[in-house]
């Protein structure tokens, strides 16, 4: 029912352009993530959609009707949205019940209906029984659920989430991530999610928009982005730690391969982006996709680090340092020499 369209959005703060001609669409019931490092403009974009900032240019539509443009900016209270803030912003002077009932009271609902709705949503976010508590008596995760319940209780057209999990500890973050996805699918509410965490984005989203310096770098489904990063920035941001610059010297269209001249020599890569011969490119390889042993490149181990479930190796291959992830059973001393393979399916060609 509710489709959100953002068209050519521009927002400046004095001289700094925070959001630079950003356009994307969110289909009904879809969860879209705005992903990027801090200062990339993701939160500003979200705040424009919420009505907390007024855009300098561009327009925002909810279901075909305009909510913001250069001329009009509907105040947030007129947009029928729900929002969860990074800090949760649960009101400390109200109980859990009062916090969640607040938007319902504003909508002049009867007491019995408010009670009914609050208890339903409390059940969904699994907070039943804590109605009478004050936020100071709740844990971070519980406060976060209160914020979510408050944002959902009036069935808003659109749900906006501004880094809702970033203040939780790692373990809680993981379980809340799954729960959040479950709730969103259950209520089928159109959702825009802001985060700087690529794993969060990939596990939660139907669609991801990657932003850097206010500009869109890539839009796509999580799998698409994970497997076919469009450019160097995206590749780097979603975990391709090894980026080797080079130039496409020839193309094998039949097999979808590109031959890239790099300081390591000629690399055979999958040409997922269909780039043409002569293009300057970056070959991106994930650390876990560098395979030890077999025939390939001779590498010298510079140093290694134990990271729990794996070992990270920093390797020197003809003046280039590569980072590789290996199983903990493979224990190699620094200074020793090994052979590594860089397989075509793992070598992604991306734009500079």
């Amino acid at each position: 029912m509710v489709k959100v369209i953002v068209e050519n959005l521009v927002k400046k703060f004095k001289e700094v352009i925070a959001v630079d001609h950003v356009s994307f669409e969110v289909d009904d019931g879809e969860l879209l993530t705005l992903l990027g490092p801090s200062g990339c403009g993701k939160t500003t974009t979200l705040r424009c959609i919420a009505g907390l900032e007024e855009p300098d240019k561009g327009s925002i539509y909810f279901d075909g009707s305009i909510v913001a443009s250069e001329k009009v900016s509907l105040p947030p209270e007129k947009r029928d949205i729900g929002m969860v803030f990074q800090s949760y912003a649960v009101w400390p002077h109200m109980t859990v019940f009062d916090n969640i009932a607040y938007p319902l009271k504003l909508r002049k609902m009867s007491k019995s209906e408010i009670k009914e709705r609050v208890s339903v949503i409390l059940d969904i976010v699994r907070l039943s029984g804590l109605e009478g508590r004050y936020p100071s008596q709740l844990s971070g995760g519980q406060q976060q659920r209160v914020a979510l319940a408050r944002a959902l209780v009036y069935n808003p057209k659109v749900l906006l989430l501004d880094e809702p999990l970033s203040n939780l500890d790692a373990k809680l973050r993981e379980s809340m991530r799954l729960e959040l996805k479950e709730i969103q699918k259950k209520l089928r509410v159109t959702t825009i999610y802001v985060t700087h965490d690529q794993i969060e984005a990939i596990t939660l989203s139907d669609k991801i928009v990657i932003l850097d310096k206010g500009k869109i770098q890539q839009i796509g489904r999580p799998k698409e982005i994970y497997e076919k990063p469009a450019n160097r920035f995206v590749a780097d941001f979603i975990g391709f730690s090894n980026l080797i610059e080079g130039k496409i010297v020839s193309i094998d269209e039949k097999n979808g391969l590109a031959f890239v001249e790099t300081p390591l020599g000629k690399l055979i890569c999958y040409n997922t982006l269909n780039l043409s011969e002569g293009t300057s490119v970056v070959v991106a390889i994930r650390p876990e996709n560098i395979i030890f042993g077999g025939e390939g490149y001779k590498a010298k181990i510079v140093t290694s680090a134990f990271i729990g479930d794996a070992l990270m190796y920093w390797l020197k291959v003809s003046d280039i340092t590569l980072c590789a992830k290996a199983h903990t059973s493979l224990d190699l001393p620094s200074g020793s020499e090994v052979y590594i393979q860089l397989r075509p399916e793992y070598c992604k060609v991306v734009k500079l």
Binding site: P76, Y102, A151
Partner: protein, 555 residues
């Protein structure tokens, strides 16, 4: 579209109100200094008002104002800093008590402090001179309050409490890890104090210094009570003297006012600069965490003696003296048999006392409510919106802070003497609304900036308009701040002498003026009794409101 535009102009009524109460007095003081014949019978343009500056009496008034202000600041600030450092950083004895007592010292109005110190240190009737010195064998030794040093002394006793409160809270707000890091790097106590602690609170110290200078320049009650009999004029008392001459010389009074006003404006502008820097340094540390205390060792006794002597002399002595004089028949009393509670009953028969009290409290409550509400809106506009005119609003609302009370009242006199408001209590209400606004803004702004923006934004997103959000979220999160602002304005109103001195009329008497009247008529005991009653009322009011709202106020 329409809504968008409307919102931009919603600041206008507020701006008009603030302009209406803060601009006329300044405008009329400037205007009045050029108009011969006074506000009732203006005779046209003149420069004669400025000839006052050639008068040697006026020149000595200017000189005295500066000397008193500078010297009392130089005495009070080091004492306050040492006290604050000792109570926040060392294991000096009874430091928790100091924090309770110091705010109470703020409740002592200047004119009462002056009376008490006269009763202690007058050469003819001062208790210390006539009784204590002979008793301890210092026959013939006299400390004379009636002099420049007397004024300086009493003013410094009033400066120490607020300077202490500002500095102690600044010291407490420093993240203790700053000092810990310095100590771990090998810094010794004094070195850390000089290179880390002091630089971190420098903005607070400078702002405190300037506040002391401003309040010194605009002090009126103490110079009037002590400097009057001693024939030591200062600028404020000279403005007052010229305004109540028969016939009054409102023109030259306005000319002298302009000088005080200029000095105060420059100082307040400087202070606001440092205040904004103070926010830059604000590093609120985790709640409940206290930095480890410095063990003073053998110095502990000396330090504790110093702290408690200061408290005894600055706070306990004046309050005790006040109570003693009100509880004994005659002055100076001779035996314990003179003890009596009669005065607490008989004082009410003093003419116009009840009316004065009514006038004072009604004015205080009205002004407290109105100024607090206006201050809330002003602070909201300043901190929460990006309206174009907000800095104008900010400056206009802080402007009365730079107008010394006696200048403010002269300005109101020039502006309103021909209107029907004159001679009623409403002119006082208006003047106190101007006086109270900047203090309300100051009391509110700290609380407001601590409210996280998201708390309001989430209310907006939930469907509440800005006004609903303001009432249901902002105001509900600030009860302590609101009460503090209300109390502060009430106390300022009760302890003010300069405003009602020029603006009162028959029927609109104020209790501070009445006290002065009692004193001048020789009712020493009654004056002290009424003073005690006033202080008790203020303390009870503070405690009740604190209890009701369970918040720390004035801290």
């Amino acid at each position: 579209m329409m809504l968008h535009k409307l919102r931009k102009y919603s600041i206008l009524p507020l701006l008009l109100y603030v302009g209406f109460i803060s601009l006329p007095p300044i405008f009329y003081v400037i205007y009045g200094s050029f108009v011969a014949g006074g506000p009732l019978k203006p005779l046209g343009f003149t420069f004669e008002g400025y000839l006052a500056f050639t008068d040697s009496y006026v020149q000595s008034a200017i000189f005295n104002s500066f000397i008193i202000t500078i010297v009392k600041t130089c005495i009070a600030l080091p004492i306050a800093f040492l006290l604050a450092w000792l109570t926040t950083r060392t294991d000096v004895a009874g430091k928790g008590m100091v924090d309770t007592i110091m705010p109470a010292a703020l409740l002592l109005p200047g004119f009462i402090a002056a009376l008490v110190w006269i009763l202690l240190l007058s050469p003819s009737i001062g208790l210390i001179n006539t009784r204590v010195f002979p008793m301890i064998g210092l026959e013939g030794v006299t400390l004379n309050i009636y002099g420049l040093w007397g004024i300086i002394w009493v003013q410094s006793t009033l400066t120490v409490p607020y300077a202490y409160l500002i500095l102690a809270s600044a010291l407490r707000n420093i993240d203790p890890s700053n000092e810990e890091a310095a100590r771990i790097s090998g810094g010794r106590t004094f070195h850390v104090l000089r290179t880390v602690t002091f630089p971190l609170i420098r903005p607070a110290f400078l702002s405190c210094l300037i506040l002391s200078l401003v309040l010194g320049m605009e002090a009126f009650d103490i110079p009037l009570l002590i400097g009057g009999p001693a024939r030591i004029p200062v600028m404020t008392t000279e403005i007052y003297r010229r305004s109540i001459l028969l016939p009054p010389d409102h023109t030259s009074a306005a000319s002298i006012s302009l000088l005080v006003l200029t000095v105060a404006l420059v100082l307040v502008t400087l202070q606001r600069r440092y205040m904004s820097q103070e926010y830059r340094f604000a590093t609120i540390s985790a709640r409940g965490y206290r930095p480890p205390l410095l063990k003073l060792g053998k110095w502990k006794y000396i330090a504790s003696f110093f702290v408690w002597s200061i408290i005894a002399i600055y706070v306990f002595l004046p309050l005790a003296m006040l109570l003693i004089v009100s509880l004994f028949r005659g002055y100076p009393f001779s035996t314990l048999a003179d003890f009596t509670l009669d005065r607490f009953v008989s004082v009410w028969e003093y003419p116009m006392l009840k009316r004065s009290l009514m006038n004072t409290f009604i004015t205080a409550v009205i002004v407290g409510i109105v100024a607090t509400i206006v201050a809330l809106f002003v602070v909201y506009c300043i901190t929460r919106t990006n309206l174009k005119m907000k800095s104008l609003l900010d400056n206009l609302s802080m402007l009365p802070l730079a107008v010394p009370s006696i200048v403010l009242s002269l300005g109101f006199l020039w502006a309103y003497v021909t209107t029907p408001l004159w001679g009623t209590v409403w002119i006082l209400v208006l003047a106190f609304l101007a006086k109270g606004l900047p203090w309300g803004v100051r009391a509110t702004i700290g609380g407001m900036v601590q409210i996280e923006k998201g708390l309001e934004e989430s209310s907006r997103v939930c469907g509440a308009g800005w006004f609903q959000t303001f009432i249901k979220i902002v105001c509900r999160l600030l009860p302590g701040t609101i009460i503090a602002s209300f109390l502060l304005i009430i106390i300022i109103t009760i302890r003010e002498l300069a405003l009602p001195s020029l603006l009162k009329a028959y029927g609109s008497e104020f209790v501070s003026v009445l006290l002065l009247d009692m004193w001048n008529n020789g009712y020493i005991g009654e004056t002290c009794t009424l003073s005690s009653i006033l202080i008790i009322i203020i303390i009870l009011l503070t405690i009740t409101l604190r209890k009701v709202f369970k918040t720390s106020i004035l801290g």
